[in-house]
Symmetry: C2
Subunit: 384 residues, 2 copies
Amino acid sequence: MNYFSSSFKLGILGGGQLGKMMLYDTRKYDIQTNVIDPNPEAPSKFACNFFEQGDLMDYETVLQFGRKVDVLTFEIEGVNIEALEQLEKEGKKVYPQAAVLRKIQDKGVQKQFYSEHHIPTSPFTVYQEKDDLTEALVRKEWEYPFVWKSCTGGYDGNGVSIIRSEEDLIPVPDVPCIAEKMIPFKNELAVIVARNPVGEVKTYPVVEMEFHPEANQVEYVICPARIDSAVAKKARELAVKVSEAFEHVGLLAVEMFQTQDDKVLVNEVAPRPHNSGHYSIEASYTNQFEQHIRAILDLPLGDTESKVGGVMVNLVGDESHEGQVKYQNIEKIMKMPGVTPHIYGKKQTRPFRKMGHVTIVHRDINKARKIAEDVKKEIKVISR
Amino acid sequence: MNYFSSSFKLGILGGGQLGKMMLYDTRKYDIQTNVIDPNPEAPSKFACNFFEQGDLMDYETVLQFGRKVDVLTFEIEGVNIEALEQLEKEGKKVYPQAAVLRKIQDKGVQKQFYSEHHIPTSPFTVYQEKDDLTEALVRKEWEYPFVWKSCTGGYDGNGVSIIRSEEDLIPVPDVPCIAEKMIPFKNELAVIVARNPVGEVKTYPVVEMEFHPEANQVEYVICPARIDSAVAKKARELAVKVSEAFEHVGLLAVEMFQTQDDKVLVNEVAPRPHNSGHYSIEASYTNQFEQHIRAILDLPLGDTESKVGGVMVNLVGDESHEGQVKYQNIEKIMKMPGVTPHIYGKKQTRPFRKMGHVTIVHRDINKARKIAEDVKKEIKVISR
């Protein structure tokens, strides 16, 4: 297959920041892209060859979009799976495959998949209705605190609540959900796995995540994770096991907990480039977006190791600002060594909205982490 | 000034591969761009916010284009300078400045500038007509071989000839030219200098260039140059001296000769991102395109040092192929560690046409150089 400067077309469902960053690499390879997103001002509107506005959950829209391209991928899980299945029946290459997305889109199904494949994960039960969960609580099947997760539609901390008492359950919507044992973990870790159609598999180094206590969004992503090498090895092996169970093509970001006794449990996965891999643009030999493209086009996978240590800081909207965005003190952080801001291109800021990220690289990961703190102190995403 | 996700507009004259690579970084910063190029299918057609077809040498076209943007830059020297001067008079920021381009666009003027500023360069004489040069030869003012250069319009080896005998002069056109003493050099070197409006100056490490013997195009660019550190220091200092003489804003690529007795002479300069800096995308803390944008927008300059060693190989059209391009064996080179192909997006190949480049990075520059040889052996730019 000839992809480079040819008539080959890659379709991407979703035109957010992940799509935007993927387009740096399709442009680098001169691979033609069609992009579709419901937002007419989506970050990926530019740099693709053809942009179309449309509803990603609409069967007919996704079907018609997919028929016009040679390979179809997505940068968001919220897409119409039936359309992907129909496209596959018609012989279209959809990567990651519809079957993979089916196992992931619903968190209940995802957890059950781990159980079936003997993949360590925290204990859980799936409930179809809120009443079922309430009854389980009456029967004392759960101890407080536990984690409540909506089976579908959750992202970036939405659709996830920590239930510490009966009262915390009141605002929770009546949707299919899972209750999950709360794991007192030492670290949240993630490993990105790349896999191509011929089954070549590569893992990125383990990254360590720190969450913002209120927004429940990642605050620092640190690569390599500052953990014991035996735990890192275990995490990479587990990520490969998960990857091989799914038999996905493309990237799979595997989020994990390192427990107090150094067990590694799978929390959840995302079948696409991931926030925890953004550091790779500056730090890795092959960044995650290029790797995703290599994987889905059945090209050889690139080197996943790092040139330098990397720390990523999310740029989220300040909680007291809403309106036309301004990146206060961005000039100050650009003076710091090894600092690269990424601005996603959303014109309006809102409290905790993901507006961009900053990567800090340094040969010494501890120095990178220190500079990252300075970055966080200086930069603010406010309105004008 | 607020550049990020704002209504600020950067104008770029020229939409070739340099502009295309610059757009990766304007997209990263969400800086709006207008691009103009005579070719309606220019590589920068995508990824800018607004593309327009137009003649870069036409006064009115450049003037009207410039009036619509806040800061104007260029990725090619062949633009109408009078229009840039008029725009500056109207208060527009043009970086690099029209006065810098005036001193560079004509190679005779450029050489005279070096003489006036006591910048070491090879001995030369400017001739307004071919007859003047012929008469100088009759008077034995030049010994064979010497170098003939057209004062204007030359690039990538066009407009440059080595004159070994009277006969070699026959095909040379009757245009203003310079005759230049041929320097038996040890190495061709280059240093990229960045300078912003407040006068902050940073140099990139010295790179070493190897030319293809027939096409007279760069074959390998190696960073860091494998030269004595005293010579490297001298080259960087000379580059700063050149930069300060021009008082340019933006990048200035300074090409130099290292003579047999380790003197460093300036050959010529380019006031823009340069082929000799492409390695920086993968190898440097701040790549040359981001650096150019930082400089012309009066942002702090980034770190110019390297994370890893880098070698760049140009992908030029095979001499026996013309037509729709095909990158033969590109999958094979993508298997090699640290190898990144860049495809510029030109659909038609021609003998020696610059179609792309490949960067090879490695902690050990000698290993990178070895892999670069393997890359050159495998990949071929042919027609389908």
